[in-house]
Assembly symmetry: C2
């Protein structure tokens, strides 16, 4: 805005909100006005929640999960199978698997994928720490739950090779038709994989 329309504190809040993924300048203004309209119910609690998160959030030194304790809640959960590790690219992927209740073992967050173009080398990811964890004795299987992208698959291949030298089995997620998905809308690669990996009924 060329001339000032509102207070500098509010413009600063809008600028910061606009940096969040999924919010552009327009929706950031809407969000700021919504927060201000709901000062007691939303703005005050959110200021507090952010200050608390800022103070308490830590990254688990074992698996890379985001939590307020280190090692994280999942790593110290006695009910989880400690002989299997599921490797994911980002913390969001770990949370997605947990929401689905799809995995009962441990996790390992890589922090990204190898990429020649973006110059991401093995030492830029937590691959060394994964090999160390996997080789420490207890672990029998490593599931590579990486994205089905070129970078994800390159990274999976690299990790598989390194695990082979330790004699630890690596596996990947199944490809196929998403549950609830319509065949007509699926790409040819997925359909081919789904046919090849068909299961007897």
């Amino acid at each position: 805005m060329s001339r000032r329309t509102t207070g500098p504190e509010i413009e600063r809040l809008i600028q910061l909100l606009a940096k969040l993924p999924g919010l552009g300048p327009r929706s950031a203004r809407r969000a700021a006005l919504f927060l201000i309209k709901n000062r007691e119910r939303l703005l005050a609690p959110m200021a507090l929640a952010m200050a608390e998160a800022q103070e308490k959030v830590t990254i688990c030194t074992a698996c890379g999960n985001v939590d307020t304790v280190d090692p994280c809640t999942l790593c110290t959960d006695a009910r989880r199978d400690r002989t299997t590790i599921c490797v994911v690219e980002e913390v969001g992927d770990l949370w997605a698997l947990e929401r689905a209740g799809a995995w009962g073992g441990l996790y390992h967050v890589l922090g990204g994928t190898l990429s020649a173009i973006e110059g991401v080398r093995p030492e830029d990811l937590s691959i060394g720490a994964l090999i160390e964890r996997a080789g420490a004795g207890e672990v029998k299987e490593v599931v590579l739950a990486l994205n089905a992208t070129v970078e994800g698959q390159t990274t999976a291949h690299y990790i598989t090779e390194r695990l082979k030298t330790l004699g630890i089995a690596a596996s990947r997620l199944a490809h196929g038709v998403p549950v609830g998905g319509e065949l007509d809308y699926l790409d040819e690669g997925t359909l081919t994989q789904a046919i090849r990996a068909r299961r007897p009924l």
Copy 2:
């Protein structure tokens, strides 16, 4: 999440973020992870900005704008024409007009529109305060910049009638083709209005 995946402070932050307009549960999680990844650069400043906004933000008692001073920056700006008032539904509309640099007079935020269905009566909006401001002597024209919806136009009609008794002229925004708009995509109502209100070249 049935079992806990992360700290309660982080889940609380996600829940609050999900209440913002434009963010659902999934994008709230993405936003929370993004904030945590950028703790120093974004989370800490945003916690501070929200606390400051919470402390300092006020609603202008004259026009209803959101600001950190009362009366607001716009109401005290000596360069603005004090004989004209532009009436808008919400603060966001006021900010939109200001961004466009479209208006040099004063503003009045109604806080909504009349609605029989939702039970919004004249006394639920700041219509009384508007009539008082308009009748105080200086004001010569009131522009009703309300949305082109049934509720917006009903409200505009009601206000026009009340201003008539004070002998103050009311006007509304022009209807027509949006600048940069393609005729092919416009609704019939807009096209009809644009033809009727055609201007000589």
